[in-house]
């Protein structure tokens, strides 16, 4: 196992300088999610208008992988339609299982591909994505 396979430069950059951190003022879908085995937590907020993710913010505490993955997720889905965001989420999950995934859709997220070789860390990387899926599902149920 090579550490650099896991901790790619892009990941460390997002960990040290997280994007879209904070809170949305005004209307937003919101969720708090915890990883009960390790205590990592995230609050995710989505502002969706006309089926498009207009704004997305997160706050959280956790390891480099969970926080970098959250930051990268917000970048990946911001400005995308909810449908597209869900597609990216599906592809990301394939990446975590070590399956072939759509590189074009994943773009930068490909940097997290090393996580699948560190099974104990997969749940770190998927925390923010679980928050995304749950938020969208909750909003669909609400409608």
């Amino acid at each position: 196992m090579q550490l650099d396979e896991l901790y790619r430069e892009v990941i460390m950059d997002h960990y040290m300088h997280p994007r879209n951190q904070g809170q949305i003022e005004g209307d937003a879908l919101s969720i708090d999610l915890k990883n009960p085995t390790c205590g990592d937590e995230i609050t995710l907020q989505l502002h969706v208008e006309d089926g498009v993710v207009q704004d997305v913010r997160f706050k959280g505490a956790g390891c480099s992988i969970s926080m970098a993955s959250a930051s990268m997720m917000t970048e990946a889905v911001r400005g995308k339609s909810v449908e597209e965001a869900m597609k990216i989420s599906d592809e990301f999950r394939k990446l975590m299982k070590g399956e072939e995934a759509n590189e074009e859709l994943l773009d930068d997220l490909e940097a997290l591909s090393g996580v699948c070789r560190f099974p104990a860390r997969i749940k770190c990387a998927t925390l923010a994505w679980n928050a995304l899926d749950k938020t969208v599902k909750n909003s669909e149920k609400g409608e």
Binding site: L3, C38, A120
Partner: protein
Amino acid sequence: MTTENAFIADFPILDQQVNGHRLVYLDNAATSQKPLVVIEAMDKYYKTINANVHRGVHTLGSLATDAYENARLAVSTFIGAHDEREIIFTRGTTESLNMVAHGYARQHVHAGDEIIITLMEHHSNLIPWQQVANATGATLTYLPLLDDGTISLEDVREMVTDRTKIIAMTQCSNVLGTINPIKEVAKIAHEHGAILVVDGAQSVPHMKVDVQELDCDFLAFSGHKMMGPTGIGVLYGKMEVLEKMEPVHYGGEMIETVELFQSTWKDIPYRFEGGTPIIAGAVGLHAAISYIESIGMNVIEEHDHRLTAYALEKLSAIEGLTIYGPQHDRGALVTFNVEGVHPHDVATVLDTEGIAIRAGHHCAQPLMRYLDVAATARASFYLFNTLQDIDILVDALQKTKEYFGYATR
């Protein structure tokens, strides 16, 4: 004992490379490794005398029963119980503590009574008491921690009243390493007519625990943390409190007569061991106890102390490393955080060096909140660990800091 450690050869699992390095196993507080004698004892049991206990008339049935009851006797002697009937086999500490909560506390704790626990409890010695308090209307209170992670007997004296029915406390914290003054707390408890329930999960494997000397009413521990197999544990209870405890598992093996609408129970301890018991597990635990006794608990204790003192000294010297818990008189573990690096990341880096440690909340969320951390890393030792293992840990932690660019930040 220096780097030459005669016990290493007893543990087959240690003879392997993990991620290209010699395995350095420092997660004994989660579960310890097993010596060959334990593995072979269970193997032999299954190969030669496996049968159900307390029912068969046939030869294997009596041999299996003897093996199971001999294990009970060995446990009883090991912890200095008055009578082997005071030993109940369970699945582990968690089941033992739940048995006390359901079988004893739910019967004898009432609205307005008090249950006292400490802030350092493992979830398994915390949630059962929350549940008892919620169900009975009793009040659950927490003994505070001092700055060094210990409790004060003054606080105990102040908090315990005649309304206190139960004090439940760990003998050794799985996070802070704190050793609690069980004997003194037992005295205070009894002065007020309360009983003391002791979580021995981290103490029984590492120090001489004598229930008569401690005078605790219940003691719970797990076989797997003391070199025995998973799936077997113990609940010790004084005969007088066991007589007041209700069974929690109804079914076979625990009854005397069964009528259509009523039944009567077997004698203690069988009434508490409903269903086919964990026979091979008991045999494995017996072998683990024999192994410990062949070495001498005092030798293990001394070895643990030496490693822990060395680890504390070496780890304290690492800049940016915070160590939790008292400086002295502590269990065989060190819990810490590396500034700027999440414990998960620490554990992953160490894993690539073949070092196994624990990272997380260690099933003690209220304590984590009190320490104001989301998670911590923990290295925990046992007799097969060496000073060299700790040197390897220290080097790897330095490497972790460098890798995460501590110096440049």
